[in-house]
Symmetry: none
Subunit: 264 residues, 2 copies
Amino acid sequence: MDAITVGQFELVYNAFSFAIAVMGAATIFFFLGRSQVAAPYKTAITVTGLVTLIAAYHYVRIFSSWEASYTVLAGQVTATGVKFNDAYRYVDWLLTVPLLLIELILVMRLPQAETVAKGTKLGLLAVLMVVLGYPGEISGLSGTRWLWWSLAMIPFLLIVFDLFVGLKKSIASQPQSVRGLVSAARWLTVVSWCFYPVVFVFPMIGFTGSAATTAVQIGYTVADIVAKAVFGVLVYMIAVRKSGADVDTAVLAPGRKLAADAHA
Amino acid sequence: MDAITVGQFELVYNAFSFAIAVMGAATIFFFLGRSQVAAPYKTAITVTGLVTLIAAYHYVRIFSSWEASYTVLAGQVTATGVKFNDAYRYVDWLLTVPLLLIELILVMRLPQAETVAKGTKLGLLAVLMVVLGYPGEISGLSGTRWLWWSLAMIPFLLIVFDLFVGLKKSIASQPQSVRGLVSAARWLTVVSWCFYPVVFVFPMIGFTGSAATTAVQIGYTVADIVAKAVFGVLVYMIAVRKSGADVDTAVLAPGRKLAADAHA
């Protein structure tokens, strides 16, 4: 890696520490909040907490790798020769991106067959997307980066299209009290996901050297915080409101509701 | 950084260790105490514990950074050349100040729309305040410090005014048993928050060199302990008393109360 300024080094360093704090706090919030949602939504909240926990773990690793790559002494930053490990992000996404999709499907509480089919399809597409992105990420050649970026964009677009169209259809079947939140979750997914292919492209569109490194690291960190922690809070709020709505429905038609809960 | 005395170094070092102990203990207290408050107050107590947990994390980082900045050997303190990372405080505040405001709003248990509106407005103002303060904090020039201090004071005053006036109005709607505590929380917020802009000003009003560093670090640490841990205990006491008050109300009018809880 080429010469990085002290300011760039510190910006990335503090952003990684911030991500550890956000992901760690979000995990505790979801795990404690799990007791506040009705039984059919507990798995969705467990998965939401796992996503931020896995991310917290990887940000601890990423932070240490960044710290090991440079020495800052008397206002001078020097590369130590230890390589900053980009792969942590891809290992993280391999796990968290399918789980993110599953938490959203679970909180929608679709019929069981549809939950399994949609979870499997979107989960596999997400794995394919991450695997196809990696060879591009580690390449310094613009041509190679564009090739793998284009290939990864195929599953990416299939997922985003499915969520955007699929969620719009299912909003009508959700209780009135959560339609606004589900709509917000739909938009947040699309907007936050679009960060990733854009950040990937930074080094191919003029950002070079340490400016590219800084822009990519800050970009992915912001995208992760929005797509995992902020998105998780929305999923949690949907689960809390639907828990309340379900209690009301149970009072009106307890037999039907209890049978549905038993299968959830 | 210029020559610091052994006494100054040790005072700051011990204050940071004290803050780790206070924030860590407060976190466990809130997380365990969460089971002792009624359902509608659990989120307020979860957030209260997250604030002290995030602060504990950052004080561990701040402590390590302080330790790495100096070597004390045979009664002599020497700067190592490793920069003390001031940014941890701002990264911490970026998260904890909005959360602090949210815990206070949640424990007041206002109508849902008002909770969301007030939380969003005060949360965004808090982020703006912290972001505007940072460029001043890292500057050694008095003029620059005063400029950013003045800009950060705009959202600061808006928040404090909103809390001071807004909380006074809502005290009347709180159960008799907690009015004294809510009033105390209101005053504690205003007084502890006023520490921060005063500490910020230390280097601009005559404190120089290591005396300024020491005064700023001790000042922020005391302010953090009061605004997060002590304030959190007040929020917890309000939640415990309101839980009791709500149970009483539920006994008098159980139908109304159960319906309200289901939506909380």
